[in-house]
Symmetry: C2
């Protein structure tokens, strides 16, 4: 009863946050090569492949697609796409953090979600819909660009790909709803702590995580720049935090959890 491809469950990612992937893969500027095998080899070795969109494909499947997939690197502040644009591709995040932001009718921007390693972004392009928000690189970001027509072609033969695609949609939906409960609820201090906790899972270079600018924190947590600064400073004074660089934080994950639990007085 029923097509098999719709069955076979898969748990949501980044739940336990224990799936620590090492550092960066070998970065080769590959773009579109005539000799197709090098790219296929890169894909096969890619450490995010098992968690990425094409993780379901076998070696034969990979051979067909590698020549169409482009790898690109973005600097902090670069935009992947903008709200209102009609995209022709989706992207897999290979490393780094991407933010999704919208502009309220009053003119101030609001960050509504983050994407990290293994996440698929811009899926609305598959449906020929315009992007609903701006996608901007927070850190240095490595992406794989997958043309939509490639997805259409492959999904006809590989039903598992559609399952995977829908699974990504559910991941994004879950992330957006978790955003509401975690980062828009309660007093400012608790929101900051929860944000740091979440960032631990996104940029897990083991202790050294990416720290957003105070302005970004304000846009994520709906607070003023000054409040964000004050709270980070307070956490630093309390010893929960160290800031070696201006954009990096040393923090112990379970330390955060402990401080967060102590908030319930």
């Amino acid at each position: 009863m029923g097509a098999a491809w719709l069955a076979h469950g898969q748990a949501g990612r980044r739940q336990g946050a224990t799936e620590v992937s090492p550092a960066h893969a070998q970065v080769i500027p590959l773009y579109r090569q005539d000799n197709s095998h090098p790219q296929a080899r890169v894909c096969a070795q890619c450490e995010v492949r098992r968690s990425a969109l094409f993780g379901a494909l076998d070696a034969a499947g990979l051979d067909q697609i590698h020549s169409h997939i482009a790898s690109l690197t973005l600097a902090p502040g670069d935009t992947v796409y903008q709200r209102g644009e009609l995209g022709a591709a989706v992207y897999t995040v290979r490393s780094g953090v991407v933010r999704f932001e919208r502009v309220t009718e009053r003119g101030d921007r609001r960050i509504v979600r983050l994407a990290g390693q293994g996440d698929l972004i811009g899926q609305e392009s598959v449906l020929q819909r315009v992007h609903g928000d701006d996608a901007v690189a927070c850190t240095e970001v490595e992406l794989c660009r997958i043309p939509c027509h490639l997805l259409s072609d492959m999904s006809a033969r590989e039903p598992a790909l559609l399952h995977e695609l829908m699974s990504r949609w559910q991941n994004a939906l879950d992330a957006a709803e978790t955003w509401v409960t975690d980062l828009t609820t309660g007093p400012a201090r608790r929101r900051v702590l929860r944000l740091l906790l979440k960032l631990c899972d996104y940029t897990s270079a083991q202790g050294e995580i990416w720290l957003p600018s105070r302005d970004e924190m304000g846009a994520m947590l709906d607070m003023s720049v000054e409040t964000a600064s004050r709270l980070i400073s307070a956490l630093r004074r309390e010893g929960v935090l160290q800031t070696p660089g201006l954009r990096t934080v040393r923090v112990a994950r379970d330390g955060l959890v402990r401080v967060l639990a102590a908030e319930d007085v």
Copy 2:
């Protein structure tokens, strides 16, 4: 180039909020009937069909499914499903408002999204995933229950159904992100006004809309019950609002827009 079913764009719903559907369809307790045609007739006449999941199906397709689809009616407060459950069906909202809520680790609940007429809920069941939040009826709610195995069966033959399904996922994602920008941003008064504006689009009985309990408003907008009460009372005193019943509001949509615009002093 590419399978045709992935193309053919479709705009997001409830954007202009001008698609005013009349009142309720004829409500017939139908559940599963041996004579299959009556249900098919009901489906064909259903006013939400064009916007619903099976809107893409023709009459022949409807004939195959009607006997598996159950219609159910929920009272305010009834739960459709609960977080952690593994559902075996998805639901189309025929009328009424459904809320999605989660419980923060501190124990207080938070409403993260609403669903209304034409929306599909519980789609994570298609992926064999457990529900991520509780789905609870806010008003009286009429649902169509669609078993997952039915979706699996049909989607193999009707590729348009998969497109429609993914489209629903994108709708939900967009709704969740809009929730962040509209209802979790800015001072309490503005959040209340935006909520009322949103409710105009969900229960558009032309002027008479559903008013949540103060407790629900608190869970939606992250504010105390008292603040919600105060703000509603203030709007009533200002003449923006009338509350004929305790759970209904008379309000002019453009009046709300005007007041909202006047907030930017």
